[in-house]
Symmetry: C2
Subunit: 207 residues, 2 copies
């Protein structure tokens, strides 16, 4: 029926988009790691250049390179934390969605079975109204109750899935922002020191 | 002589290391641009996912994506400013160093020519002390003065080169830090808004 189709479509959307988000966040992390690699080379080169310079400038450049290296340590932490708190949970989500889809399939087929059974009982009663001893009222009642229960179960499963999904995407995107903000805040702090080191190089001192 | 060799070595160091710094900063900028590209894809994907979602979550995701897009605009500005204020000045520096090397070569050869001329005059005076009319004292004096002047010019050229170099590397690294800090500060600000948008999604509202 329509409701079933809508539910399955919803799950398919989540499966598809969480999968794509996972891949794109993983690519974001990889590019961040490449930026860290290039920055590491910059740190090394600034230090090599410093070794060829006069004492004041050499000192300023060495301190500057140290700060830039510190930022790359924070970038490395950023990479590891994004991997653990964003990419990994999104990857795991693929399995969660698969399990949910199975749960849903089982509940739906139970529901369909019961609905069929109820229709059958109803038809029998209409054809042979006198056969009350054969199709006991109690049996029909039980079937009705079962169908109601299974439908409620189905609704609960879907509600739980939806609720879990909203909580998970909120948590995952929240973690992404937290990790990024931590990095940006640290970078700001360390760059402030780096700026002081390079600006304090005495322009006359080495002449 | 030793001084000349030291000076030429110094200029070669600057030429080599400014060139390598230029290439590495250019690579840093390229990697930053790649990170922006991936982030743009993330923004698009979050927005596509939002379109398949219930109103509250959709709204939160769309706002989140808008903020993430804003950060990529700032990253684009970062890329352009690093290109203009760090990579380009380092590239131009290659030519400055070449010009300085030429200046230095000219001054040094003038100095050598004068030194030789002085030695010649001195030798002539020692061999023929009587030929005072031929090798006028005034001529020797002039040669001495010229040599002194050229040496002072050479020293000034080198001092200027050194001073300019210190000012330039301070300015260029200072610009790098300023551009980076501006980006990090803006990112912090925008992520704060993004966090609020995603955390304010009502978990019950869409059920």
């Amino acid at each position: 029926d329509t409701q079933t189709k809508q539910i399955q479509e919803g799950i398919s959307h989540v499966e598809k988009h969480f999968g794509e988000l996972c891949q794109l966040f993983a690519a974001y992390v990889r590019k961040t790691a490449r930026l860290r690699d290039k920055s590491d080379l910059l740190v090394r080169e600034i230090s090599l250049y410093a070794d060829t310079e006069t004492p004041n400038l050499k000192n300023g450049l060495k301190n500057f390179a140290d700060q830039l290296a510190k930022i790359q340590d924070y970038r490395q932490a950023e990479v590891e934390r994004l991997e653990a708190k964003v990419v990994e949970p999104l990857k795991v989500y693929g399995n969660i969605v698969k399990t949910k889809r199975e749960d849903l399939k089982l509940t739906q087929s139970a529901r369909n079975r019961e609905a069929k059974q109820m229709q059958q009982l109803e038809r029998m009663r209409q054809r042979n109204p006198s056969d009350r001893q054969i199709i006991a009222e109690s049996e029909l009642q039980r079937a009705t109750m079962d169908a109601t229960r299974t439908t409620r179960q189905l609704e609960e499963t879907i509600d739980m899935f939806e609720k879990q999904k909203i909580q998970d995407i909120k948590r995952i995107l929240g973690e992404f922002v937290t990790v990024e903000m931590t990095f940006h805040a640290k970078a700001l702090e360390v760059y402030t020191t780096a700026y002081q080191h390079i600006q304090s190089v005495d322009e006359e001192g080495d002449l």
